[in-house]
């Protein structure tokens, strides 16, 4: 090839593809979703900041459903099985996924975890994602319901700073509501930002530690479960 003008370079040919990125994750997520639907299992992708109280909220939900629902939990963390130990202590079955350098769970990891959990017809499956407001937003796991947990100490503007996470949520939960009188957090301003990003999300307030609002969250999830099963033929 000539160094001056590039003449004599091998011809370049274009191959048209038009394929979505993460298509393999999306197809495996659909596989997970179909597998769960056949068994009437509602899967919930629980996302949020580290320290928002996702695991504490799960413990409170497990306590609230103790006599009426079988709950299975896939726990995603970069390291340790501390959260799955907490879930087992609270009375539910748990499977830990340590993501190592990974900053999110993906549909492949959930597929493997589904085979480890002895899932039964009608179970509720929670997937507690890696605490992170960025990466988990991009990866469909095969869930039916996406719940984002945040808290007043994080400030009012998280929805504006992390739009994809809040945009994809069905429920946005403001946990640690007992802190509202003690921290400079304007609830109306925060609600406005959530609405700006996601006009349709259901907004709930909870306090995992004293149980405030947890009943409403359980009822909201049960409502989704019933609507989902009504649409799935037996």
């Amino acid at each position: 090839m000539c160094d001056t003008c590039g003449c004599g370079a091998p011809p370049v040919r274009k191959i048209t593809v038009n394929e979505r990125l993460l298509a393999s994750n999306a197809s495996l997520a659909e596989h997970n979703r179909a597998h769960l639907a056949e068994r009437k299992i509602l899967a919930i992708n629980l996302m949020g900041t580290p320290g928002a109280g996702k695991t504490a909220l799960l413990e409170a939900m497990i306590a609230g459903w103790r006599d009426s629902r079988r709950i299975r939990v896939i726990e995603g963390d970069q390291a340790t099985d501390r959260d799955s130990a907490r879930i087992r202590a609270a009375g539910a079955t748990a499977c830990q996924v340590e993501t190592g350098l990974g900053c999110h769970l993906d549909a492949h990891q959930i597929h493997d975890a589904l085979h480890q959990l002895a899932l039964q017809h009608g179970d509720l499956l929670f997937i507690e994602n890696v605490g992170n407001l960025v990466c988990p937003a991009l990866f469909d796991l095969g869930e039916r319901l996406r719940v984002v947990v945040t808290s007043p100490t994080e400030g009012v503007d998280k929805p504006l700073k992390y739009p994809p996470m809040f945009r994809g949520a069905h429920f946005v939960v403001l946990n640690k509501s007992d802190l509202l009188p003690h921290v400079p957090f304007n609830l109306g301003e925060w609600t406005g930002y959530v609405r700006a990003i996601n006009p349709h999300a259901r907004i709930l307030e909870t306090c995992a530690l004293d149980g405030a609002g947890v009943g409403e969250l359980l009822a909201a999830i049960d409502g989704v479960r019933e609507a989902f099963f009504a649409g799935v033929s037996a």
Binding site: A9, P10, P11, V12, R13, K14, I15, T16, V17, N18, E19, R20, L21, L22, A23, S24, N25, G102, C103, H104, D106, V134, C135, A137, L138, F139, L160, P163, P164, R167, Y193, R195, A196, I197, P199, H200
Partner: protein, 114 residues
């Protein structure tokens, strides 16, 4: 950080779409919606690292960012914007319902014979 996962996925999609052996990839055309949250520089960096020793070693990753489209929750105007969130040009309301802008599409691969 998730750009590493995207780059891995992209490389697999490229290798899957080559129509015969003995090709070298010189350029990859990708279009991403501005609301997708993909950091182009991070994606290029991860792709360059992963492509070493493959058919796409040294390939240029050309990323076209497509404006996102939103429906204002206040007045219903449909408007385009760059970035991840925009203001309605009619009533100045922030945000709204996203119509498009999350796409990540591998459009084409430009190849030569080795």
């Amino acid at each position: 950080m998730h750009e590493l996962s995207l780059a891995r996925d992209l490389l697999a999609a490229i290798e899957r779409n080559l129509d015969r052996p003995g090709l070298r990839v010189v350029r990859v055309n990708l279009s991403v919606g501005s609301a997708s949250g993909v950091a182009s520089d991070s994606l290029r960096f991860a792709f360059r690292a992963l492509a070493e020793g493959t058919c796409a070693n040294g390939a240029e990753l050309a990323i076209a960012t497509v404006p996102a489209r939103c429906r204002c929750a206040n007045c219903g105007t449909v408007f385009d914007f760059g970035g991840m969130i925009g203001h309605c040009p009619v009533c100045a309301q922030l945000g709204g319902e996203l119509v498009s802008g999350n796409e990540m599409l591998l459009q084409a691969i430009e190849v030569t014979d080795v």
